[in-house]
């Protein structure tokens, strides 16, 4: 309602219900109808307790009328307040003997005066509160606090239930897992290669690859993987010129030897690098 004139209201601090239409009238920086009423009351320059509610209602209604003549759209709560004050005024002026039970017009007027007084009182204490010396503004704490070294002693916790369920779950998982794929022992290329390099380093003459490999095949089940990995490693090493390899015919044993320049020079044309030819 009055956001555009509040110098210190930032966007998030604007008081407006989200469902209200955007701002309509410049009510001169008032924080709502009660605030406007308070200002009008202040203009009467009397104790709020002795304020003439009737006069106040007139002033407020006049203000609203003026705004309407200017075709200014007023926030809903101003209009609600205006309606309420018009009602209050009529009851104050024409005491209705058949008025409904409950609060009299005087009670309503007193209630309004009370609300004005309360708003003013909160304004005042808000000012006092903000005037207090504030931390990091007027007073300061230690700028360079010294850390208190925390020595943590872990206290391990676990419950018997944790323990038992962990046990049962593990055992059960294993016992019931009828389609268990046993973990395959797979040689990595690097492993095979390292093993080969170690061996080839010792053998200068043509040697059968199978011979090398068999030494590593602890279990027959591992023969295939070891063979595959080692062969791949061998090809890699041939490509790098570390090794020469040689196979007479398809499915024949594969021979390898350490590649040296002298050997390569002598046996030129024998095993072509990187191929299972000859």
């Amino acid at each position: 309602m009055s956001d555009n004139v509040l110098p210190f209201a930032d966007i998030t601090g604007i008081d407006r219900a989200t469902d209200e239409p955007a701002l309509m009238v410049d009510v001169e920086g008032f924080e709502g109808p009660l605030d406007l009423l308070l200002m009008l009351a202040r203009q009467q320059k009397v104790d709020l307790a002795k304020i003439s509610i009737l006069a106040l209602a007139d002033q407020f209604l006049a203000f609203i009328e003026a705004a309407r003549k200017l075709r200014l759209e007023l926030a809903a709560d101003y209009l609600v307040m205006a309606a309420w004050l018009a009602y209050l005024k009529s009851r104050l002026l024409l005491p209705d003997l058949n008025a409904p039970e409950g609060q009299s017009a005087e009670d309503l007027a007193t209630a309004l005066a009370y609300r004005l007084k309360r708003l003013e009182a909160f304004r005042e204490v808000a000012g006092k509160l903000l005037a207090l010396p504030q931390l990091s503004r007027e007073i300061f704490h230690r700028g360079n606090p010294e850390a208190i070294a925390e020595i943590k002693h872990p206290l391990w916790t676990a419950t018997l239930y944790d323990l038992l369920s962990a046990y049962a779950l593990q055992r059960q998982k294993k016992a019931l897992g009828n389609v268990r794929v046993p973990q395959r022992t797979v040689w990595s290329l690097a492993e095979a290669r390292a093993a080969l390099e170690k061996l080839i380093g010792a053998a200068v003459d043509w040697t059968c690859l199978d011979e090398y490999l068999i030494a590593y095949v602890v279990e027959p089940a591992h023969a295939a993987t070891v063979m595959a990995s080692s062969f791949a490693a061998t090809l890699e090493m041939v490509r790098e010129g570390v090794l020469d390899m040689h196979q007479h015919t398809a499915f024949a044993p594969i021979y390898v030897r350490k590649h040296t320049d002298s050997v390569a020079a002598k046996s030129k044309g024998a095993p072509a690098p990187g191929a299972k030819n000859d």
Binding site: L6, T12, I14, V125, L135, R137, F140, P145
Partner: protein, 233 residues
């Protein structure tokens, strides 16, 4: 302890060597920490048998005239620069976030009227409140949602935090400026006329009879308080 009291009577400052060791220990602990420490924590860290409350009072007297004072905020103890030296400390001063007028008033209503619901704040201020106002205050860490009022709609109740007391250098809510006048005038009572019991603001984390605890989701709104800022309640 009797000995210490006696010593104090003789001369607090003339014999620095005779100064009880506990004052040194307290000094060290309180100087080291940027955060206020409560007496229980201090007692825990000091040798058994030290009258912490008494030692703190002595230390407070010793430092009363210094550039650094021992003060009590939110029931805890901390050293802070003397408030009359604000002019000197401009270099350290940080520009605090400027609260809007709505924010300031809302903070005051929460501080003096807590625990209080949004509707009650609106009632006092006579204006609908945008969500942003509460969000900004939550962001400062000065207020927290503390429960839900046992009333139709179960609105959230708000109260102030320890950070609030610490920021404004208040020992407790009783030190709120102008609180007595406000109480005396009956303006803290929402009902008319001023009731027999004078309501007082309370930031006691214990919920009141008309409050329910917050539910898990209650703290998940937008900018709202990071959990660690929400005091245990």
């Amino acid at each position: 302890m009797a000995r210490a009291a006696e010593r104090r009577l003789i001369a607090p400052d003339t014999e620095p060597e005779g100064r009880p060791e506990e004052l040194r220990l307290l000094e060290a602990l309180l100087f080291a920490s940027a955060e206020p420490l409560d007496e229980k924590t201090l007692a825990h860290r000091l040798p058994a048998g030290v009258d912490v409350a008494d030692a703190l009072k002595r230390l407070q007297v010793e430092y009363a005239t210094r550039g650094v004072n021992l003060v009590r905020v939110a029931g805890k103890w901390t050293f802070r620069t003397a408030s009359d030296l604000a002019w000197l400390m401009t270099h350290e001063a940080v520009q605090p976030r400027k609260l809007s007028r709505a924010g300031i008033e809302t903070l005051a209503v929460i501080a003096y009227h807590q625990p209080v619901t949004r509707m009650e704040i609106e009632e006092v201020r006579g204006v609908m409140m945008s969500r942003g106002t509460i969000d900004v205050l939550l962001e400062t860490g000065w207020i927290r949602p503390r429960g839900r009022r046992k009333a139709p709609g179960r609105p959230i109740t708000y109260g102030t935090t320890e950070t609030f007391l610490s920021h404004f250098g208040l020992e407790s809510l009783n030190d709120l400026p102008g609180l007595d006048e406000l109480k005396g005038s009956g303006l803290l009572d929402a009902r008319l006329p001023a009731g027999f019991t004078v309501p007082v603001p309370s930031d006691d984390p214990a919920l009141r009879d008309d409050e329910d605890p917050l539910e898990p989701g209650d703290l998940d709104f937008g900018l709202a308080p990071p959990p660690e800022r929400v005091e245990k309640g």
